[in-house]
Symmetry: C2
Subunit: 327 residues, 2 copies
């Protein structure tokens, strides 16, 4: 450790929600021991760069059901959702570790299927499996810890008044799958793929970090919740124009069936693993992003002096519900 | 990443056992993606040193029972067992990440007790909590990932014929607690402390690394199993003189009740988290170790050309059972 680069600010503020109340209490309990917590990744300096780390646990019956997705998809999804935190930091993936809990009646081929998915996601991110642990337990559970590196981490806390907020890709696909399954239907293939096989936006995250990103977060809890984290951490107010939010075709169909406006449907859905990024108002390279990263980059809002988040739908404020993994 | 330091050898061989058969199959499946797996820690070069990472999961009903130890002890134990892998690499702890699964009926104070234990172990190791995740699930489960650094990692794979094998501390304490609980008795206080509040041997591990340690492993699966991993990874034969193995007083008492020789009792018991280390035959600084690290360091065996492990009790070979966490 050379300490040649300063760590970005102390513990970052989180947006509202019962899960985050618990996390806030834990951060309070940890005190200086937990200094820096609250971002997509923990960071520590090493040589002339930072190592970024993050951990994510996926539990059968809470984050997925065996009848919805295969074990290989379960492994991929667990690893991809953790890798997505590296993307949000603008970091490159080095590798991941995987602690798997397996029900006593599971077979060895099942375990290997799960690990094939984890390994596939690690490989697609250009990274390795650095370690693991294996235990029996009451159900399937996969805790993935990712390790990456970056010279200039992008936290949630750097957005400035006047910045524009942009989102990569299109939202609502994972929720479209979830709603279909919950109603006992098989989701549309595009929606199913978004849920079962999310693509962590590592290349996009690094591109944005190189092109002036001031704050970034991955959309795991859904736009409705995650904008609040970025606003709180950056100590800015944010206004999101939901009419600008790009949505997947499957979200359109599913929202129609549920009688909800698709922008609300997409903003309240979690686990799309797209990136929300604050860029200076002068940023004018979206075309370059699209041609280099192969996915859309769409302006959806702006930061201002103050605090809190306002969502506008057809120019009128609307209350949105966050996506709550907990409970 | 400068790549200025070469990574220690490729994937390391593991000793026998059904848990390790599964891990071997997973390593086989991963191929080059899992290159380097099989040691206490995964390693990657960063600047002019290595970052060492390891993950460990503790599951209620498998690794601990709520009626045996408090949630704070559960958290400490989960973190300490993971930190012990850094000790075995000769690494210094930077921090840890903690993915916790909490049963739906758990209270917030219970969660905070668990985290106080995790935080206590992190602090005692001079390290921080770098990240976490929280999910509901069927029972308590804690996956701890530790991150450390070292300029010269000590793997399991460097023992050479002629080396002597040494062990830190005294063995059998954690098993003494376990046997008491399994018979419905409260363990002796010293045994209970060894199980509930293990001390990762970080200082000892770094001391040994600085003083010529050629191979090291922490005794989580018990001497009976872990010697096999060191021998297999180092491609040497090992002979252990069980009569030399230091045991705790509580192990003596518990072994007597069970009618087992205490050395066998201690060698077959897991989770003592002491270090087994191979040092060149010329090593003569055990007194310095004891005065600087405050725990015993005892020669218990030697490495030779060949393969496999022989345990001698009263100079006769004896078959030992490994400690199997799995199933």
């Amino acid at each position: 450790m050379t300490g040649s680069v300063p760590l970005p600010g102390p513990g970052l503020a989180l947006g509202p929600g019962p899960e985050f109340d618990r996390i806030r209490k834990i951060i309070g309990l940890l005190g200086p021991q937990g200094n820096g917590l609250g971002d997509d990744c923990g960071l520590f300096p090493e040589g002339d760069e930072f190592v970024a780390v993050s951990t994510d646990v996926s539990v059968e019956g809470v984050h997925f059901r065996r009848e919805w997705i295969s074990l290989e998809e379960t492994g991929w999804r667990a690893a991809a959702s953790a890798l997505s935190d590296l993307a949000a930091e603008g970091a490159e993936a080095i590798g991941l570790l995987c602690a798997v809990t397996v029900p006593a009646n599971a077979s060895e081929p099942e375990l290997l299927q799960l690990m094939a998915g984890v390994s596939g996601a690690a490989g697609a991110a250009g990274s390795k499996v650095l370690g693991g642990d294996l235990a029996s337990g009451p159900g399937w559970s996969v805790a993935v810890t990712v390790v990456g590196r970056t010279r200039a981490p992008v936290t949630r806390g750097g957005a400035q008044p006047g910045d524009r907020l942009w989102v990569t890709g299109a939202l609502g696909g994972a929720r479209a799958a979830l709603e279909a399954w919950l109603l006992g239907r098989e989701p549309l293939p595009g929606a199913r793929a978004r849920f079962a096989h999310p693509e962590p936006r590592l290349e996009a995250g690094r591109w944005l970090a190189r092109h002036g990103a001031r704050a970034m977060i991955d959309l795991s809890d859904g736009l409705a919740g995650d904008v609040g984290h970025l606003a709180a951490a950056s100590q800015v107010a944010v206004e999101i124009d939901l009419d600008s939010v790009p949505v997947t075709p499957e979200a359109e169909e599913e929202a129609k069936r549920l009688g909800i406006r698709v922008q609300q449907f997409a903003a309240e859905g979690g686990e799309d693993y797209e990136l929300l990024v604050a860029l200076p108002d002068r940023f004018a390279e979206a075309d370059g992003f699209v041609s280099e990263c192969g996915i859309p980059l769409t302006p959806i809002g702006k930061a201002a002096e103050g605090s809190g988040v306002i969502f506008l739908l057809s120019r009128r404020p609307i209350e949105l519900k966050g996506f709550n993994h907990f409970g």
